[in-house]
């Protein structure tokens, strides 16, 4: 490989491949957001309200996660209860 080829090959790995990589990640993320059902934020808020009737949880204690796979959709709910919850019950 000549010196000239060396420069050429290092240049062909230039900014365009970085651009492509960044875009692929970004577009995949944007698309997964786009396919989330629009009721998720409302669902999250209402679940939180119900829980707070019984347990004094933090506003960030409920996380709702939505994933779409080829044959199924997964709605994942994660509720973090405070350490003192057992004492109150």
């Amino acid at each position: 490989m000549g010196l000239l080829d060396y420069f050429r090959s290092s240049r062909s790995k230039g900014s365009a491949s970085v651009a492509k990589e960044r875009l692929q990640i970004l577009v995949a993320h944007d698309r997964s957001e786009r396919h989330r059902p629009s009721y998720l934020p409302m669902l999250q808020r209402e679940i939180l309200e119900v829980i707070r009737k019984y347990v004094d949880v933090d506003m960030n204690a409920v996380s709702v996660n939505y994933e779409q796979e080829a044959t199924r959709e997964i709605l994942e709910l994660n509720i973090i209860l405070p350490d003192t919850a057992r004492n109150r019950a």
């Binding site: 240049r11 790995k13 365009a16 651009a19 492509k20 577009v27 944007d30």
Partner: protein
Amino acid sequence: MARIIVITSGKGGVGKTTTSAALAMGLAQRGHRTAVIDFDVGLRNLDLIMGCERRVVYDFVNVINGEAGLNQALIRDKRCDSLYVLPASQTRDKEALTKEGVGKVLEELSHGFDFIVCDSPAGIEHGATMAMYYADDAVVVTNPEVSSVRDSDRMLGILSSKSRRAETNAEPIREFLLLSRYDPLRVQNGEMLSVEDVQEILSLDLLGVIPESRAVLNASNAGVPVILDSESDAGKAYGDAVARYLGEQVPHRFLTVQKKGFFSRLFGG
């Protein structure tokens, strides 16, 4: 019934109006009765690119408001009998384009025309959503550049959720990619996304690749759709895109670096 084509992109300055003018002229030149509508209310420019800015009397909003008839507002192109331009209004009231109003105008146009080309404004605001709402086909104009590709993907999401075809569960809008301002030399040097890269990211049917060309500015300076500059690379590329849109199989040109001949080197061609 006319086929309604929206020329969209999300990002501004990528060549929507240039493309609208070129495709509309190309379709009309082939004998199809074509109307091209400027949806950029407040910032009309299609009339300038088409070279009919001094003949604007009534506009799109006048027609919607019933202040003028369609026949009064449509401007017949002086170079091609089957092409008409409906200019945008210069009013600052963007809400002047109502869904019902736009629908009525398109409905009336679709009786007398084969194709209606809707030149969308940039962005995802009211004017842009009105331009795409009634579309049958969408041409997504994209530059080989990160922000343009991302915005195009956003537009595809909006096309598939907020159009009439999406809302009525009809057959989805046919979507095409038109890659413009393409510089094969920079692609070869790894400085610009290639047409394959962009297609891989957006996964769209490729309608055409328009090379970065001096002909585009020259054409807009003169108010002549660049497709009429049939000697130029951009003019030829738009001609090919029109043929492909009409279902012809045309190989892509101008994707690789053109070797300059001795004479063009000598005279700077």
